[in-house]
């Protein structure tokens, strides 16, 4: 967004123009400085730790097939033989690159701060595969200095040891385990084609119920139907919803956003968040927004679809990552090229969905 655009929009709060011009002078000076050759990873208690498994960071489909069809020994043999061949990017790759872009901008503005994203590779793989993974990280120039290759042991203990804020894996069992331990987690799927996403602005899209919020309202819908759901939400408009598994992650994103706002970067903030919900703006949406406001959380764009499919709107938004608790929506998003992740939380996992019904009234609430 150019500076001209931001000047014409109404901004509540700080004086963007004044800060903006100061900032750009500082910015120019900072850009002229050569970048620090050896960046140290931040201490885990200060940073925002994003743990990714090897299969979401990189494309290991071929190797996975070998493992499934020919067993572990052949899989290891293949990996070692191809040790110097880097893997190609997986679905989480562009997300990780965007995190690094945010870090670069944060370091420019706050050179002493350790409040940065810290990407950790946590994989079940044996250390035999380690060299190939390290070679690949180097090849793609990713800044990942922490990893755990657990040789088949559960990664959950390590996730906790590193104060993990978000865990992404292709294995739903591990994701489920992580959620059970109170760690924000989601199963990432690979879309057939991945639409291009921004390299400078991190975009994260969330579903509402059972992702940011608890599944309490979802339960009402499943038990009593849509009308009851609308009634209930209107009646309880001013009662905040309980929190869901990804609320904490939205919170840390908001903290970082405020750091950019403090330096005058509200309009072209390198982090942008979206709520993409099947709630309707006319009725059930208010409760969602009021809950967020009560939590002190801001979301940049809230899209109330009133039951419409999410794929097309996500294709316009182009988030690096989208979280939803219902596979129906995850698949719909993936079909249109969005990297979508399933959060296996709440009532939707136990009650089968009413898929494929055109009538909006009875279609699934999200």
């Amino acid at each position: 967004m150019s500076l001209n655009n931001s000047q014409t929009l109404t901004i509540s709060g700080q004086d963007v123009v004044k800060n903006g011009s100061q900032h750009s002078l500082e910015d120019a000076n900072t850009l002229l400085k050569p970048s620090t050759p050896s960046k140290k990873p931040p201490k885990p208690e200060n940073s925002i730790t994003i743990a990714v498994s090897s299969r979401v960071l990189f494309n290991m489909e071929k190797e996975q097939q070998i493992f499934e069809q020919q067993g572990m020994e052949e899989y290891i043999k293949y990996q070692v033989e191809h040790e110097t061949e880097p893997f190609s990017p997986g679905p989480a790759f562009s997300f990780v690159k965007a995190l690094e872009a945010v870090n670069t901008q944060l370091r420019d503005l706050y050179p002493e701060s350790e409040e940065l994203f810290d990407v950790v590779l946590i994989t079940n793989n044996h250390a035999y595969v380690g060299l190939r993974l390290i070679n690949t990280i180097n090849h793609h120039q990713l800044f990942i200095e922490r990893f755990c290759m657990t040789g088949g042991n559960s990664p959950i203990g390590y996730l906790k040891a590193y104060n993990t804020n978000l865990y992404l894996s292709s294995d739903p069992v591990k994701v489920h385990e992580a959620l059970g331990e109170g760690i924000a987690a989601a199963t990432m799927f690979t879309p057939d084609k991945m639409t291009e996403v921004s390299e400078t602005q991190l975009r994260v899209a969330f579903d509402g119920d059972a992702v940011l919020f608890s599944d309490e309202s979802e339960q009402i819908y499943k038990a009593h139907g849509l009308d009851k759901f609308f009634e209930h939400e209107k009646a309880h408009e001013n009662k905040p919803l309980d929190h869901g598994p990804l609320k904490g992650f939205l919170e840390v994103l908001g903290k970082l956003q405020k750091k950019f706002y403090a330096k005058g970067q509200r309009m072209d903030c390198p982090i942008r968040t979206y709520l993409v919900t099947a709630r309707s703006a006319a009725s059930s949406g208010a409760r969602a927004l009021k809950t967020l406001r009560l939590w002190g959380l801001e979301i940049d764009e809230a899209l109330f679809l009133a039951g419409a499919p999410k794929g097309p709107i996500l294709e316009k938004i182009r988030p690096h990552i989208f979280f939803d608790d219902q596979m129906f929506h995850v698949e719909g998003a993936a079909e249109m090229g969005t990297v979508a992740c399933h959060v296996p939380y709440g009532i939707a996992q136990r009650v089968p969905e009413k898929k494929g019904l055109k009538d909006k009234e009875v279609s699934s609430i999200k």
């Binding site: 250390a127 200095e145 922490r146 755990c148 657990t150 590193y162």
Partner: protein, 261 residues
């Protein structure tokens, strides 16, 4: 004056091929507590002794005539202990420990007896003893009260790589060589088992150095014939939380020099 006594309850191992592990009296027994019948209670090294025995059992299952087994010797490192030889032997047999030999030495000559017995790994609860042994070229590791809670079905060996330890500063050429030789033997033992359900597990923990440091560690271990099972690169994060999950029986560091439990 060093004396070595065989434990007749235990089948003696092949001298050339066995991996000799010496454990001090103070590690094996809880020296303070002695019950009425002159029998010492067991100390922090118990899980370790059990797991070394377990590895031997599994090795013999794979190959009934296997010679590359762990050979455990109990060594005294103080004159006072040296004089308790009969109690020590009685206690060992009472508890049915798979100790092949006893070395009764004092603080002045225990290093010599380590050399005489071709000890490849010296385990103690005393930091000074560990340091002295390392300086004389015997790989050593420290056992502490955390060791008492380690699992006894899988020997967990953790190699700690710390970029702050200079490779040549603390360890002499001889000690580096003997450390490598010990690792090579462990690697050979590891090779006898498959990927899963192995009674021995090798782990690397790179504390301060980055992924390239971990990379070169993996490669140099591979050249010694050691296939590493698990690898953790901490990028400066504290080791404590990771080690409490790993629960190593002992930690070995770069030159096998100063170590912590």
């Amino acid at each position: 004056m060093v004396s070595t006594v065989q434990n007749s309850d235990v089948k003696q191992k092949n001298e050339d091929q066995a991996v000799v592990v010496a454990v001090t009296f103070a590690a094996v027994f809880d020296a303070e507590a002695e019950d009425d019948r002159d029998v010492y209670r067991l100390g922090v090294a118990l899980p370790l002794l059990q797991v070394l025995q377990r590895v031997n059992e599994r090795l013999l299952e794979e190959n009934p005539v296997e010679h590359q087994l762990f050979d455990i010797i109990l060594i005294t490192t103080e004159t006072r202990q040296q004089q308790q030889s009969s109690s020590i032997i009685t206690s060992t047999r009472h508890h049915g420990l798979e100790v092949g030999r006893f070395c009764f030495s004092s603080e002045d000559d225990f290093i010599e007896s380590l050399a005489q017995n071709n000890v490849q790994l010296f385990l103690t609860t005393d930091g000074n003893e560990a340091l002295r042994a390392t300086q004389q070229g015997v790989p050593s590791a420290l056992l502490d009260k955390n060791s008492a809670s380690c699992p006894s079905d899988q020997l967990r060996v953790v190699l700690c790589q710390d970029a702050t330890i200079q490779p040549d500063a603390d360890s002499s050429g001889a000690s580096k060589k003997s450390a490598q030789s010990f690792l090579t033997r462990l690697g050979q033992i590891r090779q006898k088992f498959g990927m899963f359900n192995s009674p021995l597990c090798f782990t690397i923990v790179t504390s301060c150095g980055g992924k390239d440091s971990c990379c070169s560690a993996l490669k140099s271990l591979r050249s010694l014939g050691v296939s590493v099972d698990e690898a953790y690169c901490l990028g400066g994060a504290p080791r404590g939380p990771i080690l409490s999950i790993l629960r190593p029986h002992f930690l070995l560091s770069d030159g096998f020099s100063q170590l912590e439990g």
